[in-house]
Symmetry: C2
Subunit: 343 residues, 2 copies
């Protein structure tokens, strides 16, 4: 039926435009796709698609390019995620396998994603608040100062220096610390950070009043570490791909680069993947709430150790992007990195 062919035309337009980055006309479309109809018919379809707001013509007598809405339809209804070839899968696994620690995993992941998709890759560090406490350690570092170290199940380490208000290097100080260490670990170990935070609040009341001051300071430091906003981190790679992809950003790429440096923005965007259950999400052009990224699209998903969702990752590129490929790469990389983190 005719509605059906119209969508096939849209798909062909998107595919051609993504590949050539030039407006595609009815004739050149027929040369590359066997649609079984004449150029005139295609023109009629194009007129209809333009009417629906799915494609647009930059100038009166140029070809058409997809609008954001057009890409949306393409992504939702017309494309399917390209499966990765076994060779690609092996390559991904191989590349990520060699990582020695969490930093290395994240670093390799982001580089891998950038090179697979030829876009800018973004990887969020495993979120503190969505992981659990593995261990809390207290280290006296001279005078009244104390280093509070928090280690999570995802391997992240947070640290704060606190002023305990009294000398801790003597016998009594050591004993205080040992007791406190036990107390803190009992209260927090194995709990999610949010739970741990509430447990911690009760700790100062349980200890000997003479030590209460020290404990308060330590607990405050830990709670600060648990403050999600402050300590979320993202890493990116492949920014050079942005400028290589050609000047198809409505403005220049400067605002995009600026937006990418605002890690807070990226975190917000990656954070929303959680709301969507961590599945693959695509945000196209002006769907994006941040002005600097209005001319870009993002493909994101969640990942985590085992089945727990701990963070997001994805790619950012021009709206003229190979969505099928990007979605495949993002999903595959998320799967692999989750597997690695599960260890």
């Amino acid at each position: 039926m005719t509605e059906d062919r119209r969508l096939r035309v849209l798909r062909a337009i998107v595919q051609d435009y993504v590949e050539t980055s030039e407006p595609v006309g009815s004739k050149s479309l027929l040369e590359r796709h066997a649609l079984g109809v004449s150029a005139a018919t295609v023109r009629n379809d194009m007129a209809a698609l333009e009417e629906e707001g799915l494609i647009a013509a930059p100038h009166t007598s140029a070809g058409r390019i997809p609008t954001d809405a057009g890409y949306r339809v393409f992504v939702d209804r017309l494309s399917q995620i390209k499966p990765m070839t076994p060779a690609e899968q092996r390559a991904i696994g191989h590349f990520l396998e060699g990582a020695v620690d969490l930093d290395d995993v994240v670093d390799r992941t982001v580089r891998l994603l950038a090179s697979l998709t030829r876009q800018v890759a973004v990887v969020q560090y495993p979120s503190l608040s969505r992981s659990s406490v593995r261990h809390v350690e207290l280290v006296p570092i001279g005078g009244p100062r104390l280093l509070v170290v928090l280690i999570t199940t995802t391997g992240r380490v947070e640290q704060r220096v606190v002023d305990a208000g009294c000398d801790l290097l003597d016998e009594a100080g050591e004993a205080t610390l040992a007791a406190l260490r036990t107390e803190l670990n009992a209260a927090t170990a194995g709990r999610t950070l949010a739970d741990a935070s509430t447990e911690l609040a009760a700790v100062p009341d349980r200890v000997d009043p003479s030590r209460r001051e020290v404990v308060r300071a330590v607990v405050a430091a830990l709670e600060e570490s648990l403050d999600e906003e402050r300590e979320e981190r993202v890493v990116l790679a492949g920014t050079a791909n942005l400028v290589k992809s050609g000047g198809d950003f409505s403005a220049s790429i400067a605002p995009v680069l600026e937006a990418l440096e605002e890690h807070v923005v990226l975190l917000k965007l990656l954070g929303t993947v959680a709301e969507q259950g961590g599945t693959l999400a695509v945000r196209i052009g002006a769907e994006n709430p941040y002005a600097g990224l209005r001319s870009t699209s993002m493909v994101t998903t969640g990942y985590g150790a085992g089945s727990d969702l701990v963070a997001g990752l994805g790619v950012v590129g021009p709206t003229r992007m190979d969505y099928a490929g990007a979605m495949a790469s993002v999903r595959a990389v998320a799967t692999y990195v989750s597997r690695i983190l599960a260890d």
Copy 2:
């Protein structure tokens, strides 16, 4: 004397070119600088400077632009570092003061430097091998696995998971760990990482043979943490400034962005500041050993807690750069961050 005026002409050319980013001719030079001579004289001087290879003309009948060698002379002999105004100094101090931990210090530093200079800023994390061990901690994390945590005087924390080969959660395991903890800290605390590394080598031989296997694994993990190459880190900010600074990169900016993402390269370059005693260093255009950065200049210096040099920081920008300003900002920021780290 005439040689003297020739250099004044060079200085004027550099200043004008940096400001306008257009080749400067004899006449427009006179409009902006009171040189006390006629245009013809300036032309003669320019011809001489061109002969010496300090300036060049992009086309037969265009103005002149400085060569790398010209900038070199300018930096070495013709410019002086702009002192920071008290207001700027206060702003720097104020901005850095609020940092809560090392990550935050580095993050603020790099952003500050980028916004002060309007260039790409690069900050190396305090180097592991040039700092000292504050504390070593062992945390059993279930089964035979053990988390080895290394904390340095500059606040960095490194961690490795090791397989101890036997269960550590029972009584005997705890005792083993306690003894080992004491042993390791005695061997390393307060030492530079390099020293600590040699001390560590002797530890396995000193302990009870039954525990030797565990100790070996732990020591190996620590030594891996001390491996300088692997764990050096840099952070950058202001990449958008690159594209904003206009198209004065001989190639496009893509290779520059690529080079900047190769952190290893940046680390190498920042590493050389140590050889120069940590003082301000300027690397201009083709003086740069890395192809991707041939069209850029770097201004770098060392910084550290107190008088110890622990890392480098600097800016990367087009050779057409405000060297005096960049040098001032880099030096000032290094001074302030060193002061902060000294706490």
